[in-house]
């Protein structure tokens, strides 16, 4: 790993991975406790439509993807805050239609066709310095916003109705949170890809939630887990010449299943202790 860091692209990749871990750890924790995983998946995939639109109109990629996913995020937020029961259906439709629109627009674009596949798993090994700068600034802005509203978000995430009684502007915060998710997703798509964004947004927070006692601990622990996954995955991809994004997700997924096994073991050992004390008491 150390010799790999002599290459600038490796240093950039590692930095991008660490930055993504921090942003995804914080935002992902909010996504998991607010049960917005499916909605985030919808936003990430409808960003595809924006990528297609950007190519079709000859706009910069970021502008198209941002416009499209922010718009669809706001529609999803409106639908999900109005009719909670059918929100998943609408999100599923937008998810599919967004991707289809992206592909059709690419088809209609004359000249050479980009491979949309590269946006699925990203290209972390070819992150330019300028993207790192954008990530740092936008990520910093998002984190500041989250920490300014932290207590409101905390109360809202645990119990929305109670938050309303306490006078928290729940509706505005909900739109803000989903807007933040859209920004996060778009910012990450080019760097780490749609699939990796969803993985980093959900797997580390899910593991962290079980072993932590507060939202802030959950965020910190998710960031650390994300960092282990991204740097470990990069090392695996360098050492064994594998696709970096997939290697990172594979590592995170392994952690996910290990945590399930660990939970099971904890339950079993508690059970054994109980049975043992029971035997000692009766005999």
């Amino acid at each position: 790993m150390i010799e790999a860091l002599h290459f600038e692209f490796m240093r950039n990749a590692l930095l991008a991975g660490l930055l993504a871990s921090v942003i995804c750890g914080v935002i992902g924790s909010l996504i998991v406790v607010n049960r917005l995983v499916f909605l985030s998946g919808g936003i990430a995939h409808s960003a595809y439509g924006g990528i297609g639109l950007a190519f079709f109109l000859g706009m910069p990629f970021m502008a198209g993807a941002f416009f499209f996913s922010f718009l669809s995020a706001m529609i999803m937020a409106a639908v999900s805050s109005r009719s909670k029961q059918r929100a998943d259906t609408i999100i599923g439709v937008m998810w599919a239609v967004g991707m289809a629109v992206g592909i059709l627009l690419i088809d209609l674009t004359p000249g050479y066709n980009v491979d949309l596949m590269s946006y699925l798993f990203g290209s972390i090994l070819s992150v330019p310095r300028s993207d790192l700068l954008i990530m740092t600034i936008a990520g910093g802005g998002i984190l500041l916003l989250v920490f300014y509203f932290f207590n409101d978000l905390l109360v809202m995430s645990y119990d929305e109705e109670f938050a309303l009684v306490r006078g928290v502007p729940v509706k505005r915060l909900y739109y803000m949170l989903i807007g933040i998710v859209a920004i996060t997703v778009v910012m990450m798509v080019q760097v780490v890809g749609l699939i990796l964004v969803i993985a980093l947004l959900t797997i580390p927070p899910y593991i962290a939630e079980k072993y932590t006692k507060s939202l802030i601990q959950m965020m910190v622990f998710s960031c650390a887990l994300g960092m282990v996954c991204t740097s470990g995955g990069l090392w695996i991809s360098y050492r064994f010449d594998l696709t970096s994004g997939a290697a990172i997700i594979f590592l995170a997924g392994t952690g996910f299943f290990l945590s399930l096994v660990l939970d099971r073991l904890i339950v079993l050992s508690k059970r054994r202790l109980m049975l043992k004390s029971h035997r000692e008491m009766s005999g």
Binding site: V33, F147, Y148, F149, F150, N151, D152, L154, V155, S157, Y158, D159, E161, F162, A163, L164, V165, R166, G167, V168, P169, A208, E209, K210, T212, K213, S214, L215, Q217, M218
Partner: protein, 261 residues
């Protein structure tokens, strides 16, 4: 005469074209312990939500100590019906109680103060579960979680405690303890509680509000038997006697003479 803390006049509420509450008038005096009873879908929870300001009346008005709900007039503690939502949320019992003190205007400083901690622990102490303060909410039993949510409502030292079917997830023994606790709390604050638990309501409540689109308020019962009759009529017969004859205890006034509205 005690002070009026909740004053509802001519209130109507309709939801997607359907009238849920019609011409409600209710005056809650300080120190009362009102049980809100009535059939499912009769508008009990809707009435609670109108009082705490989660819903706006279609017509008429709600005043809490002379002010609109949501404005800082009357400190209300609210205990929701659902206690199992968001169970895996990473928070300790104490954290949840401190959330009760949250004021959106004071965003900074970040985190919680020593004062918040002390108040939170005091509220848990009052509910008799301070030894679980540091435990994660997912590791608590249903009854303990219920107490945590009541502690969250009490931490601001409210004048009015509003509970929505609080005993749904507590066993019989826990319920008795729970009602004794409410009776103790009632010495200092006013209680408004939705309940289906007829026996307990008639044993502990001071007055009854029957809600089934309309509202009938019954106060000052001569005996708990009489109170039980009122509650029973509202919940079982889906109707409410407007007046109660001053009958001797044990002599049931139902179901004859029931006027249906």
């Amino acid at each position: 005469m005690n002070d009026t803390i909740v004053d509802i006049t001519d209130l109507c509420f309709s939801y997607s074209g359907k009238e849920v509450l019609h011409n409600i008038d209710l005056v809650v005096a300080e120190g009362d312990f009102i049980a809100v009873v009535g059939p499912n879908g009769g508008g009990k929870t809707t009435l609670l939500k109108l009082i705490i300001g989660l819903l706006k009346p279609t017509r008429g008005r709600v005043r809490l100590s002379g002010r609109k709900p949501g404005k800082k007039g009357l400190e209300i503690g609210y205990v929701p019906q659902q206690i199992d939502h968001n169970l895996s949320f990473p928070a300790t019992a104490l954290d949840v109680v401190i959330m009760g003190k949250h004021v959106p205007e004071n965003r900074l400083p970040f985190g919680r103060s020593q004062q918040d901690r002390r108040d939170g622990l005091a509220a848990l102490e009052k509910m008799g579960i301070s030894e679980f303060a540091g435990r994660k909410i997912s590791d608590l039993s249903g009854g303990q979680r219920q107490r945590v949510l009541i502690a969250r409502a009490l931490v601001t030292e409210p004048e009015l405690l509003v509970l929505d079917e609080p005993t749904a997830s507590i066993d019989s023994r826990g319920q008795t303890e729970f009602y004794q606790l409410l009776q103790e709390l009632n010495k200092e604050l006013t209680i408004l509680m939705v309940s289906h638990d007829l026996l307990s309501v008639s044993a502990y409540a001071k007055s009854v509000a029957c809600v089934n689109k309309r509202l009938h308020y019954h106060q000052a019962f001569a005996s708990s038997g009489e109170l039980f009759d009122a509650v029973y009529a509202c919940s079982v017969y889906d109707s409410c006697p407007v007046t109660f004859p001053q009958s001797a205890p044990g002599q049931s006034s139902l179901p004859e003479g029931v006027t249906n509205d």
